[in-house]
Amino acid sequence: MRFLTLGSGICLCGVLLFSCGTEESPIQEGPTLISLEKPDYFPAEQPMPAANPLTEEGVRLGRMLFYEKKLSKDGTISCASCHQQEKGFSDGLRVSPGVGGTQGTMNAMALANLHWQTRFFWNGRAVTLEEQALIPIEDPVEMNLPIQEAISRLQNDSDYPKLFSAAFGSEEVTAERIGKALAQFERTLISANSKFDRWIRGEVQLTPEEQLGLELFFTHPEPSIQLRGGNCGDCHLGFLTSGDPNGFSGFHNNGLDPDERLKSGLQFVTGNAFDRGKFKAPGLRNIALTAPYMHDGRFSSLEEVLDHYNDHIQNSETLDVLILEASNEPQSPNDPVKLHLSEQEKKAIIAFLNTLTDQEFVSNPKFSNPFK
């Protein structure tokens, strides 16, 4: 209910503009521009990259490339091997196998609502989705295919040149176009019909337990004013439950390891020692489907994740201050970092996390394998 007025306003504008456009503009050649089907409570000010407008033909090509096993060296895996729709576009494994059984070192990130994210990979090494999409193709522990080889395989295919022509105006296959098409398809992966979404739209009520979980999720605790919180929303922001898109603000050290075992993380990208051990705060849409958790997949269940944040935070030089400072009970400076949630509160947060599951998203035929 809360967002209804705003929503209908936007819809009305859309209709008005649309009708002007169809009456006055001549029929255009080339790919058909489309816009993302997103709810009005997602951030509005997130333009499409000017160099890669979203088109029907681009998305169609991107979807095929996403499921295309020719983009791996031995033709055994595609993007979708590690990003499986039914698992919220993750793979259920601690770390993902590449071609020839090589093991990666990182947990495959779940994909959803990527248009509102600004840095990609756990350490943030890709700035755009277009750039990100090409890297796993060449990565020796992933698809391990030199991009020139990928280009020539697609160029010599009987279908792809036509699809590239429809999407980009000529049959030429380039790395840039592969990245653009994949990015376009990935932008359409919008998850916005979970119970949480329906609650935002005023269509359903949460159970008392889910409601408590939601409030805890979005609250930083302050014991001196009896404010209890789970401290999750400090990093998993807003309706998207994803990281801060500004600069490197969406990267955090969440207390997985002590100083001596901290991996470089964001420091690999920035060179700043203060960024050691920081990883991207992922969006939590469909989180109940995307186990195991953390950049290295070390936790197999949400219960383990909650136990980590509640009881097992490892202090280090770069531990996020919002974790360092968060406790539901008064602390002395030398106390170990503990959140002091009750068992009931941890269960409530997990109940809320389960409301982020979007069955429509994980079964939407638009996102499924086009070769089946």
Partner: protein
């Protein structure tokens, strides 16, 4: 649609035609904010600063709302009230508010508030800088944080790396500031330089010694209101 366009063009022509020799009817005004600590530009996540109570401090985040900006020409009595005026500013974030084309006047006074007013603070279904998807909404129900400062300091007695988390909001901490302006000439593009003095959050009238605080997470209650009193004056000033 076309009629509206013509009407708009007519207005533009009218305005531009009378601006040939005379003072233009409109002028642009930008507000530029510089965030400082210890008299130096703030740097996040790198440089070590010193808190007014003496502790070494590394800032991690600074964000704050400015709202309801009003410019006044006290001599002519001209007043320009910026419509829908809610501006989220911060370090490594926005530092300029462009007011766009506004009626020309020799503005010599600016009034603005730190935080968002009671009306805007009572709902979160808003867009632009009040979009609850940015991290300034407390949650869906209870409005906005007005001033956020996060960082780490070395505790004076224990020597331990300690977090400092100031999330100040609530209607009682909505503070209105009026300052004099100089050098603004009617019809000329104006840049108003403002300085945000982070030290002032800890200074006066309520001196805060962070190593002596029972909790260095301050998100409400008496301590938050004391910080609100501190930012009511001297926190954001005209340079």
């Amino acid at each position: 649609m076309k009629n509206i366009t013509y009407l708009f063009l007519a207005f533009v022509l009218i305005f531009s035609s009378c601006s040939d020799e005379e003072i233009p009817a409109q002028m642009t005004v930008d507000l530029n904010f510089e965030n400082t600590l210890n008299g130096k530009p703030l740097q996040l996540n790198s440089e070590t600063f010193t808190l007014p109570s003496g502790e070494p401090f590394i800032a991690k985040k600074l964000k704050y709302y400015i709202s309801n900006v009003v410019l006044t020409d006290t001599k002519s009595g001209a007043v320009y009230t910026v419509p829908n005026s809610y501006h989220l500013l911060g370090e490594d974030f926005k530092s300029t508010v462009e007011l766009g084309m506004i009626p020309s006047a020799n503005y010599d006074q600016i009034t603005f508030s730190i935080g968002v007013d009671q009306v805007a603070n009572a709902k979160t279904d808003q867009t632009g800088d009040l979009d609850p998807n940015n991290e300034m909404a407390w949650n869906w129900n209870s409005g906005y944080k007005f001033v956020v400062l996060e960082g780490e300091f070395t505790h004076k007695t224990t020597g331990v790396r300690t977090g400092l988390v100031l999330h100040i909001g609530r209607n009682q901490n909505y503070k209105t500031v009026t300052q004099s302006l100089t050098g603004i000439r009617s019809g000329r593009a104006a840049q108003i330089q403002l300085k945000t003095v982070i030290d002032q959050l800890f200074l006066s009238p309520n001196a805060l010694k962070v190593s002596e605080l029972p909790s260095t997470t301050i998100m409400g209650g008496e301590l938050a209101d004391k910080i609100g009193e501190n930012y009511a004056s001297g926190f954001i000033t005209i340079e």
